[in-house]
Symmetry: C2
Subunit: 479 residues, 2 copies
Amino acid sequence: MSNLQKEDFSAWYIQTIKQADLMDYSPVRGCIIFKPDSYEIWEHIQEEFNARFKEEGIRNAYFPMLIPESFFTKEKDHIEGFSPELPWVTEAAGEKLEERLALRPTSETMIGTAFGDWINSYRDLPMEINQWANVFRWEKKTLPFLRTSEFLWQEGHTAHSDEEDARRRTMRMLQVYKEVIEGLLAVPVYEGQKTPSERFAGAVDTYSVEAMMKDGKAVQAGTSHYMGTKFAEAFDIKYLNRDNEHVYAHTTSWGVSTRLIGAMIMVHGDEQGLVLPPKVAAKQVVLMPVGPWKKKPEIVERLEVLQKDLKATGIRVLLDDSDNSPGFKFNEWELKGVPMRIEFGPRDMENNQVMVKMRDLSDKVAVSLDEIMDFVPKALDEMQVRLLETARENRKANEYTNIDTLDELKAHIEAKKAAGEVPGFVLAGWDGELETEAKIKEETGFTTRNMPFNPPVEKTTCIVSGKPAKHTVWLARAY
Amino acid sequence: MSNLQKEDFSAWYIQTIKQADLMDYSPVRGCIIFKPDSYEIWEHIQEEFNARFKEEGIRNAYFPMLIPESFFTKEKDHIEGFSPELPWVTEAAGEKLEERLALRPTSETMIGTAFGDWINSYRDLPMEINQWANVFRWEKKTLPFLRTSEFLWQEGHTAHSDEEDARRRTMRMLQVYKEVIEGLLAVPVYEGQKTPSERFAGAVDTYSVEAMMKDGKAVQAGTSHYMGTKFAEAFDIKYLNRDNEHVYAHTTSWGVSTRLIGAMIMVHGDEQGLVLPPKVAAKQVVLMPVGPWKKKPEIVERLEVLQKDLKATGIRVLLDDSDNSPGFKFNEWELKGVPMRIEFGPRDMENNQVMVKMRDLSDKVAVSLDEIMDFVPKALDEMQVRLLETARENRKANEYTNIDTLDELKAHIEAKKAAGEVPGFVLAGWDGELETEAKIKEETGFTTRNMPFNPPVEKTTCIVSGKPAKHTVWLARAY
Ligand SMILES: [Zn+2]
Ligand SMILES: [Zn+2]
């Protein structure tokens, strides 16, 4: 058994996603190919979010990808935040354009312009739209799924009559993100507020859900922003209220992206490869004939019946009757993270049973063929719940809440490194000053992840200044 | 009642899609905003195709949008066909790029490069992938949905071990297109082969399904291409066959786009506005209280029950209990093309009935509340079938198969114009020469749509040269 995940997590990650056939590099810097096995995970994520958005009364739409340069300059913080990363179209159909067009990094400016046109009266509010789209951020360091020059995401944009309603939407979507990321991807997250320096460019308040990877590093899994009237002022999103006054709307935006795929892999994967939560796995069950060759036809026929029966109940099932050896197949499907393997050979046939191996458990169990149809969905549901619990336990084991000074933090990081362990998430008090936050990053590489709504404990003194803490923050290294 | 559709079809089209809230223009030339009511139509189209692709064993994936210039130059015909319309990224993150990157107009070159890497042995074939994506063609004349600088589409790309298998896939997808466009959008199409001059840039053979709009003009609704080994040679898609020889794969591609939305509107819309086929309508049924105000609460309560019951059976239903007058609401929902309107007032309550108006029929019918739950899905199914039949009749009425010379064609077009009627589709004999085809276009504005597989009659002499016809072709003006 390999020790690569433990010894070199990054190498393990790249090797695993390549071998499991999830992605390939492309000739365009930082742009990856989402191969069918990863794209299908994304489709399951989309299905779940679309169902949630519908419940919330949010409708999908599609806006142009190209954004005129002049749009960006309307909101000062926004352009400052994004301009270093923008790719530009400067020519089309053989002619130089009069104005450069950016490949959207996000659509606040495009949708803000449209909202400015569409919203006239309080009757038009709230206006709540979501878009599934490709977006571009030309970043220096890229990592498949987690940080790519082009990625796929959903971006919700809403406009409201007042702050209260806009803040309610902001917080509600953060909650939806938590529910879906935990419920579907089995990735536990901390919800909280970003510090001012980590806010979305142009937002009044940014909230996030943050997940811990197996190497202890953080992934920002989703964000939700309250914009106040800043974008409304920049894009003239005004409406006539019930008192017949023209006033600015309050806007929000919120998004999750294909980085969720990377986070899910880094939370559940093990030395054998991927471990996929059943709800998003392209294949939930693989059926495999085992044992002496001669018996194969009747064995395969029985498995075909089982495959058909399982398929009919909506289970995503595959029968691998290829000529490869069982050992080869075991490895292959474990690497690909298929949640359940069902083996069936001549002896099993005699005993009217199959052998079942769940991807996240080490033992095989015998299950009677009379009970298998009830067993499979139940076992998949249990695995879904178990993965979240296991991830919570892993996370808990790597949370540190007793570190009170920067020296202690440095010592903690050194000690973990020396022991070949992960430094994880550290809960700290923070005096709310930009300088103390910057100093943490500078001296340790840890950054503030968020100020959690429900921290395990409240920290009372700032980890840098020793002054009374204004906030309790999660610190971690981040992807 | 307006006569706009009859008198100025283009003006009717633009007015209808704007008033029905399907789209808005954007500040980027030729790029439109797909508002929720049109985007949802697209989502229903996607659902149906995804189900079909799955049945065919074709899986979705996602490839980078930006294509290095050098990729295009690998297949000569391909670059010649597309280069006049490409937008280019030339700078990113503040630096000029070493190589320009095109915004994909289609992904043969990107996916061809990947297939070249992924395909090694006959065991890897067929490789069959579909992508849902935004694509760009910077065209001079644009028209919402039908021809936009950025549009949404699916593009299928497959590689096969031999010509036979590749041609089978090419023809099969054309058939899938016909089934879905007729079955879901109720738009009848002619399937046939494109003439060489109308082939996809780089294809050996291009096939299309062509639809006739109410103004007699044609919309190419879907295309399927057999590439031979041309792209395989350009992108080195070679495999080791069973005889241990390295040989080129045979590839195909096929696509439909958001122009289907425009075609559907132009086939079914009428002077009152949109007429949406029930299978793709965002709302299939609108419930409306009518009659004296005082009775309203109990009327609305009964409609709320009906709404809930219909929703539970999967019907997409809306209750409009706004304060607008019934006349205003009738117009609004007719304009938006909602297939079924159900009215309910105090007298209906006494009679235990509702009044039902189907969008495509002029009479209202009374339906007992005891039978309404059976009635609604049945009436929607019937409307779906009826729309296709009506469209077939409209098309039949505008097909001309007795025109044998270019002078007759010109006279036909003039006569129709003078009568305020549409010139429609003309079936003609063609000698297969590029010059005769060019002459038709030059002198009449009609172009060859396709060489139909099942023409109503076989034409025997060329409409231009009078020589024996090699092919029977549909001629029409086209969008
Ligand atoms: Zn799936
Ligand atoms: Zn729908």
